[in-house]
């Protein structure tokens, strides 16, 4: 059962590169880079087996096409049965971590005993038998790396909170706790919540309120205050900056520029929304 990269020899023909069991090896197995969509990892494949014999067997149901998806770190090893051509599979992101290997295969669903097809190497004789549940095609492995979900996504570091000591309409930022609090008096707070939860106004809020809050956070980091460095958000922001190859503590870049990078250019989302409104 260990499928290795070296030549594999079975008692029955197996379509594989360099096996020589079939006279021609013509197989296309393309996998797009996996996308993270919500809670799922989306795997898009396009497999074409240009073997008339195997295509007929798959079409009749005597054989099946699929791929093994293996993530050793999470102990996931699953066979996904698919159709030839384009196929999309969704796997829970929470089941994957790090290196993921995909190996397309064709397998028998039943005992097959036939006259040897002309495409199969004559060394197998005139009659071919495939036992049930046998591999009949093995493709090269494809590898991906799946990044884990962040413990604390960047956006989750910020929290709207009430502070009735503030003047209505005025916003302040408190970066001294576990989360970075964006403070406003009661009525203002409720309006901001509403704007955040409304699609039409959310992107405006990101620019008018959250972007300055991120800038204030960066100013706090640049104060080199030990207390700030010990806040639990500090490492998360630092880590996000590192991932973007930004040093938030250096004045080579302005906090305004860094904040826009951390928020993935929030002004653009206003334009996207405007375009949608026009359609």
């Amino acid at each position: 059962m260990r499928i290795s990269e070296t030549n594999i020899r079975y008692l029955h023909p197996v379509l594989a590169e360099h096996s020589g069991d079939y006279n021609v090896f013509d197989l296309k197995a393309d996998f797009a880079s996996p996308l993270i969509e919500g809670d799922n990892v989306v795997i898009s494949s396009n497999i074409e087996i240009n073997s008339t014999y195997l295509e007929k067997k798959i079409a009749s149901g005597e054989m099946g096409l699929g791929y093994y998806l293996v993530c050793q770190d999470t102990m996931l090893n699953q066979l996904f049965k698919i159709e030839t051509g384009k196929h999309v599979e969704r796997v829970a992101h929470s089941k994957l971590f790090g290196k993921v290997e995909i190996r397309p295969v064709v397998f028998t669903n039943t005992l097959i005993s036939n006259t040897r097809d002309r495409s199969i190497n004559a060394e197998f004789g005139d009659e071919i038998t495939f036992e049930p549940a046998s591999l009949t095609m093995i493709c090269s492995k494809v590898q991906f790396n799946i990044e884990p979900a962040k413990f604390q996504p960047f956006g989750a570091l910020f929290q709207l909170a009430k502070d009735d000591s503030l003047q209505p309409g005025k916003i302040e930022v408190d970066a001294e706790g576990d989360k970075i609090r964006i403070l406003a008096e009661g009525v203002t707070y409720l309006k901001l919540l509403d704007m955040r939860n409304t699609r039409q106004t959310r992107n405006l809020l990101m620019n008018a309120v959250y972007l300055p809050a991120v800038m204030e956070t960066l100013y706090a980091m640049r104060s080199f205050d030990e207390g700030v460095a010990q806040c639990s958000w500090y490492d998360v922001v630092m880590s996000k900056c590192n991932a973007l190859d930004i040093n938030p503590l250096s004045d080579k870049e302005t906090v305004y520029s860094i904040a826009q990078s951390l928020m993935s250019l929030p002004v653009e989302r206003i334009f996207d929304f405007q375009e949608e409104e026009k359609l």
Binding site: M1, D73, A133, S134
Partner: protein, 245 residues
Amino acid sequence: MKKIPYISSSILEKLQSSIEVNLDRYSSSGFCDLQNDARWQPTLDIEYDEGLLSQLKHDPNKSKSEDDRCNSEIVGVVFGKLTPQLACREEIWVRLSHIECLDYSRERWFKGEANEQLSTSVNRHMFAPGRPGRREYHAISRLWWTYHLAKCVRPDDPKSALNAITQSADLRKSIFDNPWTTSRLEITRAIVNVIESTPDIAKEKNWREFIKAVNRAGGGKVFEVMLPEDIRSTLDACAQTALCG
């Protein structure tokens, strides 16, 4: 119910590089005073039963397998809502072994040790870098992954599967050392059934011959499309081969 805690990456790095400095903490005083640092305080949005976790104890009167089996069940149930992805995160396990489960970790792995020996044990059992660290060595993580496998094999009765795969340290280790077998649940389920029906197969020599026979018989076999009874009869035949060998 509390939420599952973890430490920040900077604290993880600091602990890893400060083992020698913290030997006294590992052997006796602990790390509770450091919890005031916010980097020790983040939590996941997943609860755990701290009451049940308080039952995690090392019992020197039990065999190591039996002791690990009992504690695997406790850790597996307490942290049952962790996903496999989260369970690969060292920050969670290091926090647990340093605070919530320090007493157990100390008693099980390095009680009475000092100096270089203590340092080596701490490095091995209190940190979980990579897959071997998580599966084999970390004091708490290894218990979770053992129970996780049992739960995957028999979701409705993980305890019985746990009993089967933890009959001895060797058996557990060899199951985890064969990831191409154990992560294919159809095979592992059948292996657990064989262990239960043919207890002699768990003996060292028999077990090794059995795994060899399974690897030989399974070459090129797509167990995932076989009926459970056919998988079982294949593995029963492997067991007979091993016992007669």
